[in-house]
């Protein structure tokens, strides 16, 4: 998760204390990724343990502990900015799993399942578009950062609709080819897991 690297990159600008880091993170991401102060301090603990940051001065009046980045931390920031974000190859996408399961069940109208999702996703897309349209000419870096995130959500929603369109076509072809029949439960109990034991009541 990139909160760790994001905080490190912010600390690369100068020492900060925990609550300040949260504010900085929020205003640079349009508050689109809520992070609580507890998470910030946990992350700071780990960054300190890994020697990427260290405690610097303590503001005795405000009781704030400042953290500053180390040389190793600066290298980490450079590496982060210079490398791609790894995407998981295994799907954890709830919708993909839902369709995959639904297609194997008898009596499920998949076209309807797809349409319900498409309508919902497009309504989200409409809302995102309105939000974006309201601040389409960014007047500050904060607004620009926020717009980038809205754009990313718009493109993700669009991709989902396109995937649904594609799935619908694929499904129609599969039905026409007669390969879209549901998968019945396998009555041969798989011989894995906990071995069956004979129960005796003697």
């Amino acid at each position: 998760m990139s909160v760790r690297q994001s905080l490190l990159a912010i600390l690369n600008q100068g020492p900060c204390y925990g609550y300040q880091l949260r504010t900085e993170f929020d205003r640079r991401t349009g508050s689109s990724w809520p992070v609580n102060v507890g998470q910030i301090y946990n992350t700071l603990d780990r960054l300190e343990r890994d020697k990427l940051i260290r405690k610097s001065e303590v503001d005795t009046e405000q009781q704030n502990t400042y953290f500053e980045i180390t040389d190793a931390g600066r290298i980490e920031v450079e590496n982060w900015l210079g490398s791609p974000v790894a995407r998981s190859t295994a799907t954890r996408d709830e919708l993909a799993i839902k369709l995959a399961i639904a297609v194997t069940l008898p009596g499920v109208d998949i076209a309807k399942v797809i349409q319900i999702q498409r309508t919902a996703t497009i309504e989200t897309l409409q809302e995102l578009t309105r939000t974006k349209n309201a601040t389409d000419n960014p007047e500050s870096s904060e607004q620009l950062a926020w717009l980038l995130i809205v754009d990313s959500m718009i493109f993700a929603a669009e991709a989902e609709v396109r995937w649904l369109d594609h799935s619908e076509t694929r499904l129609a072809r599969a039905i026409a080819a007669g390969v879209a029949s549901p998968i019945p439960l396998n009555t041969d109990i798989p011989k894995r897991g906990r071995p069956a034991r004979a129960i005796s009541h003697d």
Binding site: S31, T119, A120, T121, L128, I154, A157, D165
Partner: protein, 240 residues
């Protein structure tokens, strides 16, 4: 002046007869009011473009009624229909359809001139329409001197010139890159917000999302509709 710009009542469209007949539209009901942009989505062959030609009075439906600004198209003579099309409807196509030998302003003024306006008199509203799409400074350029996005903006100006209030757009962003397409949609949206009404046929969900309502067509039937929530609950949730 009525708020309802367009109404389709039980509109069906069949091509051919007997066993080879193809149903392009089957009992479509649709309403578009002033200030409303309605997107039509659907796979190829779902009836999207047919719906637009029927709504624009270019082809009469096999059955059902099309009512534009209170006029029942079935009751109009060919001449009355042509007049209604010129005065009430503006079309925007994927490939812009500007006349290459006319300048931007002449293209925009053309529907008015066809309607009997003198060339000099038509210039003023044409320039106003070009101002709206922020192209007044390109008024005397020919289409070949304009970018794709600018040409499409000229086409939007032509679609709304002289107070025509129903815009029928068929894949207006199809030939444009993503960013330019968005500028064009923004202009379309702006015209609608200023009191026009419009139908936007598109296969692109991101572009359809500019509409107030999205209608899904499958095999000539409306199978579902999406409507933007009036309160931004989703974003309030995300932003905490």
């Amino acid at each position: 002046m009525t708020d309802e710009l367009l109404r389709l009542d039980g509109v069906s469209m069949q091509y051919g007869r007997g066993e080879t007949a193809v149903t392009a539209l089957a009992g479509v009901d649709l309403r578009v009011s002033r200030g409303e942009l309605v997107a039509i989505m659907g796979a190829s062959g779902s009836g999207k473009s047919t719906l637009l030609t029927v709504a624009g009075g270019l082809t009469p439906p096999t059955s059902g009624e099309v009512i534009v600004e209170g006029h029942w198209l079935s009751g109009l003579s060919a001449r009355q229909l042509a007049t209604l099309r010129r005065r009430s409807l503006g079309f925007v196509f994927q490939d812009f359809n500007l006349i290459p030998s006319l300048t931007a302003i002449e293209n925009v003024a053309l529907p008015l001139e066809l309607d009997g306006w003198k060339t000099r008199k038509a210039r003023r509203p044409a320039l106003d329409a070009l101002k709206v799409v922020e192209l007044a400074d390109r008024a005397d350029r020919y289409p070949s001197d304009l970018s794709g996005g600018q040409q499409q903006r000229v086409a939007i100006a032509r679609a709304v010139v002289g107070g025509r209030s129903l815009i029928l757009a068929d894949e207006p962003t199809g030939a444009l890159d993503s960013t330019t397409g968005e500028v064009v949609l923004k202009m379309l949206r702006g015209r609608v917000d200023a009191g026009a009404g419009g139908i936007l046929v598109t296969h692109d969900a991101r572009h359809a999302a500019w509409a107030d309502r999205i209608v899904f067509l499958r095999d000539g039937r409306i199978v579902d509709q999406a409507e933007a929530p009036t309160v931004t609950t989703y974003f309030d949730a995300v932003r905490g």
